[in-house]
Amino acid sequence: MSNTPDDLRYASTHEWARLDDDGIVVGISDYAQDALGDVVYVELPEVGQEVQAGEEIAVVESVKAASDIYAPVGGVVEAVNEALDDGPETVNQDPYGNGWFFRIAPNDESQLEELLNAEAYAEQCAAEQE
């Protein structure tokens, strides 16, 4: 059973989002990293890029497949996790911590409320596994 922390919001496309003092931090869920297998590259967005909620803005390549990563909320990309260039395996090892992808300064924080809570996301994962 994969780990879905209660304090995060989740997109149905398997990104997580966390509001902190500097904006909304985004990564991929434990369920997603497990399904992908070993991550070998992450292609991150540009800092300063304006993004819409639901827009494809990053790519994660694993041993198994390439997957698009969508912006869970709209805004401006303020930071990207450059450490993933040399250590893509961090996404597998610490998906909710050092394996974060990017941080967005949101246009509207309330968009976070439109994402799934942990319980609803865990239910979706359980359904996908069947």
Binding site: D34, G37, V40, Y41, V59, E61, V63, K64, A66, E89
Partner: protein, 360 residues
């Protein structure tokens, strides 16, 4: 996982070792045991253990066995003069298309063939269609383990003390009713052990306890591709000839009077030249080459037949079917973007180090 998939004798042992199972050729098999890349590295550095019980095993016996095999295999089974000797060979159709690539062993008074699981019906059916009198073809229900890596032989010897570490490559020995063969699909030294299903869990546990790392199909695929070994169904198929697959070295043209199936079609193609063939490619930029991606060369377009991220090299490598005269710069279309790739001669990795030769 659907119950319609066949389970090997090692199914429970694999689950207990943390396997993530995946369907493959009608079987439920371990894809990985946590990290495919860690398993790959364990095989390059020490020893890994694979459940390959899905492979199809046929015993071909009787006075008609050798005449049958000399006709249905492109390699000459008459060269298997010693007990346990093995031959990597191809089964061809009349158009010289590859029905399967397989290992043929001298086994007792007859022969044993080990074929790809996905081609069980094709190989079994072809053997039965082509047989004449005085030959029996028996499909065996046996387990198969592959113990692979630079420490594999010593590890097996520590556990069994049978002298298997003195086996020469492409030779097998009997160990009771087990067959222990110095063969594999990783480019490393190693053994493949074919044994009764009932014995398999015991051997698995002993080898894991002795230090072999359980490894799955994911690592098997990256190991074989680094080693320059092709996969039937991807890099070759019933519409590919040995020339196109770069496997003409396995075809025995001598003696000339041996009329194996596909011989004439192959000779005709050799005379006029194959239009395309399999090349090695590498991509040193970011991204991963994968099967199905289009390749653009000055000589025309081609396609990636299998591609991986190489854990040993740290970048992506692939086999691609390209026009035979392909040379120079080429580009691969990866997720809508064209990226530069280089043509190389496989193997990509030998002895844990880069081994490819640059072409152009």
């Amino acid at each position: 996982m659907s119950d319609s998939h066949r389970k090997t004798a090692l199914h429970d042992a694999c689950l207990a070792a943390g396997a993530k199972m995946a369907p493959f050729a009608g079987w439920s098999l371990p894809l990985h045991f946590g990290s495919q890349i860690a398993e790959h590295r364990a095989v390059r550095a020490a020893a890994g253990l694979f459940d390959v019980s899905h492979m199809a095993v046929f015993d071909v016996d009787g006075p008609g066995a050798l005449p049958l095999l000399r006709r249905v295999l492109a390699g000459d089974a008459a060269r298997l003069t010693n007990e346990g000797q093995a031959l990597y060979t191809l089964m061809l159709n009349e158009s010289a298309g590859i029905i399967d690539d397989l290992l043929a062993y001298r086994h007792g008074d007859g022969y044993r063939l080990v074929a790809n699981a996905a081609n069980r019906q094709a190989v079994g059916g072809w053997l039965k269609d082509q047989r004449r009198s005085a030959v029996t073809v028996t499909e065996r229900d046996l387990a198969m383990l592959a113990l692979q890596g630079p420490k594999a032989l010593a590890l097996f010897e520590d556990v069994h003390g049978a002298g298997a570490d003195r086996l020469k490559p492409f030779h097998a020995m009997a160990l009771g009713d087990w067959m222990v063969a110095r063969t594999g699909y990783t480019g490393e030294a190693g053994l493949e052990i074919i044994l009764p299903n009932a014995d398999a869990p015991g051997l698995w546990s002993c080898l894991i306890a002795a230090g072999a790392a359980p490894a799955g199909l994911g690592a098997r695929d990256t190991l074989r591709l680094e080693a320059g070994l092709k996969l039937h169904g991807q890099d070759m198929g019933a519409d590919t000839t040995p020339l196109e697959a770069g496997l003409q070295w396995t075809v025995h043209r001598q003696p000339e009077e041996r009329p194996f199936i596909g011989r004439e079609a192959l000779a005709a193609q050799a005379a006029e030249g194959a239009g395309n063939r399999i090349f090695g490619l590498l991509l040193q930029g970011r991204g991963v080459l994968r099967g199905g991606q289009r390749v653009f060369t000055a000589a025309g377009e081609g396609v990636i037949t299998s591609g991986i991220f190489s854990p040993t090299l740290g970048y992506s490598i692939a086999f691609a079917r390209l026009p035979s005269n392909a040379a120079g710069a080429m580009e691969v279309l990866i997720r809508g973007k064209r990226q530069q790739a280089r043509l190389v001669r496989p193997p990509f990795v030998r002895g844990g180090r880069p081994a490819f030769q640059e072409l152009n």
